[in-house]
């Protein structure tokens, strides 16, 4: 029985998890690094433990310190959030060994799905469609030529242990096959200590569509439909939506069933995501599985009407899935935009600093998952994401309208943000029409940074405000604030002679 959960994370996701804990009557335990003492997750939690210096590898990635905090607090379970230790097989094992429930899959599942070749093999064996290619390591130049020709150009050579684009080569022409394979192997060896590479057919400008699944320890697995994640900058998701504008009911049914098959193939327990590549002809291929909660999970929560964190906790505790597949229905449309402390107009330079003012957009159809507050200093050590803005509408158009309204009214000063950039995405024709793929950001790069409007009047008023502000700061202030002074005299008077309510 889970009564207390340590959240081995920080920022918005730590708060997100604590909210569900509180709703379930479960105590939450925060951990924090030196830079995070004033972070909201520390004072939002029921308890908080210091776990080390600011850099992640000395605190949030420090397994011993986290386990020690869990033991000291008497936590029954650890929720890893996303990032940090969430897909760390050794951490999952360690929790088990210490008698603490890890809210996530077993180390075996993490290992199988974390290695790309073993995941491919497992999926192929289970009848899941993968991008055409090999499921074996290329051992020789002969292998390379034979296999690439069989798969058909163009292809991607990928490192089995890969990640972050390393050990990856695009090969379009026959003459580049051998050099491409050799380069990928040597880069993979250098980066991961393992030169295993394999070949996949290149899917040109694909859609990135993922299915949410949840499984329990009683053999039940359901999917909660799709998320369209094709708006990416340098392989980082920027905007997600659900449903996908590309989807048809038939395709959804087929892909959903395949996602459940994939999860069942590894006896998956917990929340996970099956990522697919989908081409313009609606061919779809298993890409990889994320064995954790995704950043973009709220759009599924809103459209399907569920709480994924609660479901994670229930199944981790040995409980049954709270829903059958037929209970789950999509309603309306949801969009998430990720608010970053970065300056899109200066090459997306990160912008840590102190938040001066923040007015979070509220009202109908808006959910805002954040963690910052006025006066908070965004530290330099972690991800620049400061919040997630999520809109819901009865139609896709309404979800876009609401997102635009919320972005326009999200007032934040003190650090640079990408709020305007996100607004431009919503305004772009390709996004508005739903006709986009992973090439979206590149294709619309100029539009997204352009300044269409005429700001003459706004600029003049900015000057006027600055003029008045400077005038006030330097004391040349005529008779502003006189009212206030008059009023507060009453207070002093009241104090002096003493006051009583009868």
């Amino acid at each position: 029985m889970i009564n207390k959960i340590l959240i081995a994370n920080r920022g918005e996701i730590a708060l997100r998890i604590m909210r569900s804990c509180r709703e379930m009557g479960i105590k939450s335990v925060a951990v924090f690094s030196e830079a995070d003492r004033k972070s909201k997750h520390v004072y939002y939690a029921d308890e908080a433990y210091f776990i080390g210096p600011s850099p992640s590898n000395e605190s949030y990635l420090k397994v011993d310190n986290i386990i020690e905090a869990a033991k000291k607090s008497g936590a029954d379970a650890i929720h890893p959030g996303y990032g940090f230790l969430s897909e760390n097989a050794a951490f999952s094992d360690r929790c088990k060994a210490e008698g603490i429930i890890f809210i996530g899959p077993t180390s075996e599942v993490i290992s199988v799905m974390g290695d790309k070749i073993s995941a491919r093999k497992k999926m192929i064996d289970s009848g899941v469609l993968v991008v055409p290619g090999t499921k074996e390591d290329i051992k020789s130049d002969e292998d390379a030529l034979r296999i690439v020709k069989m798969v058909g150009l163009p292809v991607m050579i990928k490192a089995s242990a890969g990640g972050g684009g390393k050990g990856m080569r695009l090969v379009r022409h026959e003459k580049d096959i051998i050099s491409g394979v050799r380069a990928a192997k040597s880069e993979a060896l250098a980066a991961f200590g393992d030169d295993a590479v394999y070949v996949e057919k290149l899917v040109e400008n694909p859609h990135h569509i993922e299915f949410q699944i949840v499984g329990d320890s009683h053999g039940n697995v359901v999917h909660l439909f799709e998320r369209e994640c094709s708006v990416q900058r340098r392989h980082q998701k920027v905007v997600e939506e659900s449903p996908s504008p590309l989807m048809t009911p038939e395709l959804r049914e087929k892909m959903g069933t395949m996602a459940v098959t994939a999860a069942k193939a590894v006896n998956y327990v917990g929340a996970g995501t099956i990522e697919f590549l989908v081409d313009d002809e609606l061919n779809y291929y298993f890409l990889e599985m994320n064995t954790r909660l995704q950043v973009e999970h709220p759009i599924t929560e809103i459209v399907v009407g569920v709480d994924l964190v609660k479901a994670q906790i229930i199944v981790a505790d040995g409980g049954y899935l709270p829903w059958n597949q037929q209970d789950l229905l999509q309603r309306g449309h949801s969009i998430e935009t990720r608010i970053y402390a970065e300056d899109p107009f200066n090459n997306f330079m990160p912008s840590p600093g102190i938040i001066k003012h923040i007015t979070e957009p509220l009202g109908p159809g808006i959910r805002h998952d954040g963690y910052i507050y006025a006066g908070y200093e965004i530290p330099i050590y972690y991800d620049p994401m400061i919040s997630k803005l999520i809109s819901w509408g009865s139609t896709r158009q309404e979800a876009i309208d609401r997102m635009k309204r919320a972005l326009f009214n999200y007032k934040l000063s003190g650090v640079r943000t990408n709020i305007r950039y996100l607004h431009r995405i919503m305004e772009s024709e390709d996004f508005a029409s739903g006709n986009y793929n992973t090439g979206f950001i590149e294709k619309n790069a100029d539009f997204l940074l352009a300044d269409a409007e005429n700001y003459k009047e706004l600029e003049d008023l900015v000057m006027i405000a600055s003029f008045l502000y400077f005038r006030k700061q330097t004391g040349n202030n005529d008779n502003q604030h006189k009212e206030e002074c008059t009023q507060s005299n009453w207070n002093n008077y009241a104090k002096q002679i003493g006051v009583n309510r009868l």
Binding site: V42, Y493, A494
Partner: protein, 169 residues
């Protein structure tokens, strides 16, 4: 440093035992706490006591010895009792400077009706003045038989909270 602090009817002695730089060792009456306290924004303290997390929001009151403190959505009226306050208390004036002869409203509002005029002789419970704020009218009465000494406001006036309205004796 050592202070007497009052919340409602309770008065406790609060004393700094040690400032380790990381934590404060502070004694409240007989109990010693070792807390990690950070001011996350003006007047808002995040306190970790034995790893339990508290957020405490302090609003300055009408003097620098008088706060309204919000924690767990509960409001605590806090008075710092120093020598001056002790002297006043010993003379029976209390820390908030209560004075039954001054009639005031704890909330800002507007004077709807003044029921008395200077020199009127009143009986305990007589209504002196009616104040309206936010669609609600409140009547202020005298606690004991008295005479109206002075009327400091007129009907229709907008008033501050705790502003003296009528003086009786």
């Amino acid at each position: 440093m050592k202070l007497d602090i009052k919340i409602n009817e309770r008065i406790a002695t609060v004393e700094m035992i040690e400032n380790t730089g990381k934590t404060f060792k502070i004694k409240v009456d007989d109990q010693i706490y070792e807390v990690d306290s950070k001011e996350v924004k003006d007047g808002v303290f995040s306190i970790l006591n034995d790893n339990k997390s508290y957020l405490i929001d302090i609003i300055s009151g009408s003097s620098n010895k008088n706060f309204e403190v919000v924690a767990w959505n509960k409001v605590f009226p806090v008075d710092i009792i120093d020598a001056e306050a002790k002297y006043l208390m010993s003379r029976g004036q209390g820390t908030t400077g209560d004075d039954e002869n001054v009639i005031s409203s704890p909330m800002p509002g507007k004077i709807v009706k003044i029921m008395v005029k200077k020199g009127d002789v009143l009986k305990a419970g007589d209504t002196v003045i009616v104040v309206s704020a936010m669609k609600m009218e409140s009547e202020y009465k005298v606690k004991q038989d008295s005479t109206v000494q002075d009327i400091l406001v007129s009907e229709g006036d907008t008033i501050e909270g705790h502003q003296p309205l009528v003086i009786v004796e």
